[in-house]
Symmetry: C2
Subunit: 208 residues, 2 copies
DNA sequence: CCATGCAGTTAACAACTGTTCTCTGTCATT
DNA sequence: AATGACAGAGAACAGTTGTTAACTGCATGG
């Protein structure tokens, strides 16, 4: 049965993961459209032809990486927004969450930021799809909150998209400051907080 | 003298521009880190070695493209912001300006969006440098306007950065809708206007 | 008018790429 | 215990790449 994880299936999954990890490491200094299949297999220590047992192409690998980088983030975002609390507290928690995530998975964040507008169509579409899901989820969560009571759905979508874009921009800023001094990361923390706060103030007076 | 433009210098400039144009066209379907020098010269119809007469590497070409794409935009932005007028009118003009610019130079816009977080460090830095200049210019223009009277310089920088980021995001949205139906472009126009308006509302109540 | 500088050419190099076919060893099924 | 499926290895392929060297022809400055 296919759901049985024998020694065979386990080993296959392990090399698959090794390929994805190696690719992610190589992608820190280049973009996906220049990533060679042989380059990846060489880094793993496996024959070039073994690549085809797992992915049709490097673009295919990229799509899998998008899933790995963003797929598990949806419940996290849901937990964050459904947690009751004052708006400024929510902003502070969001910024801290992003900071911790960038610290834990910098290569994933870099990959998403890089390939969001990158040269591989299928990967771009995969990312856009995930971001659309995030926007939709933020939109429905906003509907449950008092700040956007009486808003049109279009306006709520607009605000949700703005927040999602802002989260990505914040993550990218944290990434740039990742290897820098701690003072720089603090600056980014304050900056991102200010930006979000300004947006939430605009949201509070939207219906005037 | 070097400032004399004889037949010689003119022809050199022409092939240099041809190389940049060809590269820009090729970069619509890939990223700079996978752009080959031979690929470019082949598209122009020139020998591969001729490339070295103009650029040290493709990364060097990329830096020149950044200058071409963003360098001439500074006075445009200055004119836009120094034009007197009510704030909502300014927003509308800005969105229309971006829409027209994307329509006129889609390849330039795609290039900047793609390589801003792309795989080539020197190009990334060149773009960040230009964007920092834009942010600085917007900051000083904001200082002349009444909306940010009494603000700290840090807060003004924060707002300027938010606007610059927003302009890039808007340009990217227009680019995605560039070959789509006109209704889609209208939707983007309204969306971008709403986002900017929400930010400007937040700006109006920042000091409460 | 002639000598020089230099944009662009030609040829060749070693190294690299994606892809195909054939083969091997071993886990999982019967 | 025998058999088939299948992850991975190995070798070979036609193309491609960046870079070097030595060249050619012509516009330009003295």
């Amino acid at each position: 049965m296919s759901h049985t994880f024998g020694v065979r299936q386990a080993q296959k999954q392990r090399t698959r993961q090794a390929l994805m990890d190696a690719a992610l490491a190589l992608l820190e200094e280049q973009s996906l459209s220049s990533l060679g299949l042989r380059e990846v297999t060489r880094a793993v220590g496996v024959a070039p032809t073994a690549f085809y047992r797992h992915f049709r192409s490097t673009a295919d690998l990229g799509v899998a990486l998008v899933e790995e980088a963003l797929g598990s983030l949806h419940p996290v975002l849901g937990d964050l927004m459904s947690a009751v609390g004052d708006n400024d507290e929510l902003i502070q928690r969001a910024v801290e969450l992003i900071a911790r995530h960038v610290d834990a998975y910098p290569a994933h964040v870099r990959f998403i930021a890089r390939e969001r507008h990158g040269g591989v169509q299928s990967v771009r579409e995969a990312i856009q799809g995930q971001l659309a899901r995030f926007t939709e989820e933020v939109r429905t969560e906003l509907g449950k909150r008092p700040e956007t009571a009486g808003w049109s759905d279009d306006d709520r979508s607009m605000l949700a998209g703005l927040y999602v874009d802002q989260m990505l921009a914040t993550a990218s800023l944290f990434l740039e400051a990742h290897d820098g001094p701690e003072a720089e990361r603090d600056r980014v923390t304050r900056l991102a907080g200010s930006r979000m706060r300004l947006i939430s103030i605009g949201c509070r007076h939207w219906l005037d």
